[in-house]
């Protein structure tokens, strides 16, 4: 019994209204010796890379003795909400992580400062350009990553199935998953979230499109869409744990893989470092496709707040975080996400490291990319609509065609 939610909302809105009168964070040292403290809020280091980020911060502060970086780290799940609330209240950090999918919203709202004088040559051009709007750079890519298929060699051996290869298709994956699944021992063959992020990729793998070419309506309500939805949904309860068995709760899938109870896991390269101790024998491979290959690629970036008092210092930090050699090597050393560097020799070091042995798959996956469909302001609502529809198919309460049709109508309404 409490009225907290409304009160909290009210307080947040009150703060928001008053914020126009208040001055935002970011203070200059009163003594006037030029020392500044900037705040950086991030999600990229959460869950195992906090120390690596700290190493980059320490090195930056050594090179820039007048700048102190105060880091706030939040879980990815809560980050967008927290940032939005901070932006509304004017309490955002001087530099903060943003995702490509939210770039349009933030640029249109004028919360990102244009970044001039950045050394373009240090970045992978395609990544740098994706954070440019009408010729203005609004954020600097800090990393990129993609999704691959992790597999547990011991479980494959035990089931007498040969290891996945780059030529595998959905049919091979299903056959292997079925053989590996042993419900009496609590072993599952496969895990892939039944969500928007897997769906648009599966759709591309079977040759379909999520949005129409003009981007004004959806195209996923198609035979390919139905096939993709069914491909994801049929795993649940056969070769993959159901929602009731824990699927969908944070870290459930990685823990299952770590415990040696999961044959194959579709996940991003950012979880690789958490498997350094267990399971014993594992590797990665480019995700199987259906009629064609398609892998999801994500990038993160650092932006500078347009109302920061220390934009220059914040930009210097953003540049260091995204293009310094130290940041790049730290990312490689710790099997973090990949640095957005134009220097291919740095990336070669990544290939030279062991575990997983087949690191080449990370770069092979970049050859056939399925980009996240982006629709602007209503992005999160679209993501929720599609994920909810897929959940209905997964729980067998709706056919794929009915669920996708209903979802398509709803998303089309958002696109108007």
């Amino acid at each position: 019994m409490n009225k907290k939610p409304l009160a909290v909302l009210g307080a947040a809105l009150a703060v928001a209204l008053m914020s126009s009168a208040c001055t935002p964070a970011g203070q200059t040292d009163a003594s006037g010796n030029g020392k500044v403290t900037i705040k950086y809020s991030n999600f990229v280091s959460n869950g195992g890379h906090e120390k690596d980020l700290d190493a980059i911060v320490q090195a930056f502060q050594k090179e820039n003795p007048n700048i102190t970086v105060q880091v706030t780290t939040l879980p990815y799940k809560d980050y967008a909400t927290a940032l939005q609330t901070d932006l509304a209240a004017g309490t955002q950090a001087d530099a903060f992580d943003i995702e490509y999918a939210n770039l349009a919203t933030y640029v249109n709202s004028g919360v990102l400062a244009p970044l001039d004088g950045v050394d373009d040559t240090k970045y992978r051009q395609s990544l740098l350009e994706s954070y440019r709007v009408d010729g203005t750079q609004y954020a600097l890519p800090s990393s990129f990553s993609n999704v691959v298929l992790y597999y547990n060699k011991d479980l494959f051996d035990a089931a007498g199935v040969s290891y996945p290869t780059a030529d595998w298709t959905w049919i091979d994956e299903t056959a292997a998953a079925k053989k590996i699944t042993d419900s009496s021992a609590g072993v599952f063959g496969d895990f892939q979230n039944v969500t928007f992020y897997e769906f648009y990729k599966a759709l591309a793998q079977t040759g379909g499109k999520f949005l129409s070419d003009d981007g004004k309506s959806v195209a996923f309500n198609s035979p390919e869409g139905i096939k993709a939805a069914e491909w994801l949904a049929q795993k649940s309860g056969t070769t993959m744990p159901t929602l009731a068995q824990g699927a969908g709760t944070p870290d459930f899938d990685t823990k299952l893989f770590k415990d040696g109870k999961l044959g194959m896991l579709h996940s991003g390269i950012w979880v690789a470092s958490s498997f350094s101790d267990a399971p014993k024998n594992w590797d990665i491979v480019v995700e199987p496709g259906d009629t064609q290959k398609a892998s999801a690629t994500f990038s993160n970036a650092v932006g500078v707040s347009s109302n920061s008092k220390n934009k220059a210092a914040a930009q210097r930090w953003a540049e260091y975080m995204t293009n310094s050699d130290l940041a790049a090597t730290t990312r490689i050393e710790s099997s973090w996400e990949l640095p957005p560097t134009s220097d291919e020799s740095v990336l070669k070091d990544y290939l030279a490291k062991d575990k997983p042995a087949n690191r080449k798959a990370v770069f092979d996956a970049l050859e056939d990319v399925a980009l996240t469909p982006v629709i602007g302001e209503n992005q999160q609502e679209m993501v929720d609509i599609v994920t909810t529809a897929l959940g209905e198919v997964e729980a067998k309460r709706s056919s794929a065609s009915d669920a996708l049709k209903a979802a398509a109508d709803k998303v089309n309404a958002l696109l108007k």
């Binding site: 019994m1 409490n2 939610p5 009150a14 209204l17 009731a244 302001e377 729980a395």
Partner: protein, 321 residues
């Protein structure tokens, strides 16, 4: 209060007397006393009035202003007048959220009231260890909703939860609880009633203890049985407490959020999406603070009307001794 006011006005304290002797005239004295009296009241009100002003009243009207705009919390506001309201009224998701909230109240209120009354009656009699029992029943009330919701999620887990295991022992195939759209709301109702049972019990227990014992003695002499006494003495005498519980539960019921957020997040397939969860999603997930504020105001007006109806209706059934 009136008596107190009069006595104060008629016999001012020692300070006022001193002032009168020094002051220029009778008129001045009256104003001074009244001013002092007003300041005294203000001093006592300030600790609660200031937070109320800044955290409730100002945000309420700020929210009304926001509700007339389109705003993503981040960028500039865009004036849209009453568009947000007209959009919400015709929006099936909003209608669904109100229906689910009413479903929640219809399930929750009888359960928590009857359960709370039963426990209050039981613990009002002289049984051993009743103080301990009262404490135990009140424990969930002071426990965080997040903890309670997660525990209930485990209890009601369709495949590994203890509730379905127990049902299995007596040969009943348990439902899918929070994974099933048909059972998600009953799951939330069950957890909510369990948590609030102790609160209702305490209020009703206080009411029960205020009923004079001689009424029961007289009724017993007249030959009234146990049930007769319950319906003719206990329930009518308890009506002020009942009224309080019902009004409060309804107001809180319309604002149900924590348990929904933690147990189902409004799912599956929006089957447990309630109004406040909708407000939360609109604001913090979808960046539609204007629509969310409009929905907050609609909810406020809705609760206001329901509460006014209850206050009017109480004359018919509430008996103040």
């Amino acid at each position: 209060m009136t008596a107190l006011q009069n006595s104060r006005a008629e016999s001012p304290g020692p300070t006022a007397t001193t002032k009168r002797n020094q002051g220029p005239g009778l008129r001045r004295k009256a104003t001074g006393t009244r001013l002092k009296y007003a300041l005294t009241i203000a001093a006592f009100l300030i600790p609660s009035a200031v937070p109320l002003l800044f955290f409730t009243i100002i945000p309420m009207f700020a929210a009304f202003w926001i509700s007339l705009n389109q705003w993503n919390l981040v960028g500039p506001m865009k004036w849209v007048g009453l568009d947000n309201y007209s959009k919400l009224v015709s929006d099936p998701d909003t209608q669904g959220a109100f229906l689910h909230t009413i479903y929640y109240i219809v399930g929750y209120l009888p359960l928590v009231y009857v359960g709370g009354l039963a426990i209050a009656l039981a613990l009002n009699s002289r049984i051993k260890g009743r103080s301990l029992m009262r404490g135990l029943y009140f424990l969930p009330v002071v426990t965080s909703w997040i903890v309670v919701a997660l525990v209930w999620r485990w209890l009601l887990n369709p495949s590994t939860g203890i509730v379905n295991w127990l049902l299995g022992l007596i040969g009943v195939a348990g439902p899918g609880w929070w994974t099933d759209p048909a059972w998600s709301m009953p799951s939330i109702i069950l957890a909510s009633a369990w948590k609030d049972l102790g609160f209702v019990m305490v209020i009703l227990l206080a009411g029960l203890q205020a009923i004079p014992e001689d009424l029961y003695e007289a009724a017993t002499v007249d030959g009234a049985g146990r049930w007769r006494r319950l319906f003719s003495i206990t329930l009518p005498m308890l009506s002020p407490s009942t009224f309080f519980v019902v009004v409060l539960s309804l107001i809180n019921g319309f604002q149900v959020f924590d348990q929904v957020y933690a147990m189902t997040g409004g799912g599956p397939n929006n089957s447990s999406q309630v109004v406040v969860q909708q407000i939360y999603d609109l604001t913090f997930r979808y960046g539609k603070a204007g629509e969310a504020s409009a929905l907050s105001w609609l909810l406020f007006l809705f609760i206001l009307v329901i509460t006014l109806i209850q206050v009017r209706g109480q004359k018919k059934w509430v008996h103040y001794a």
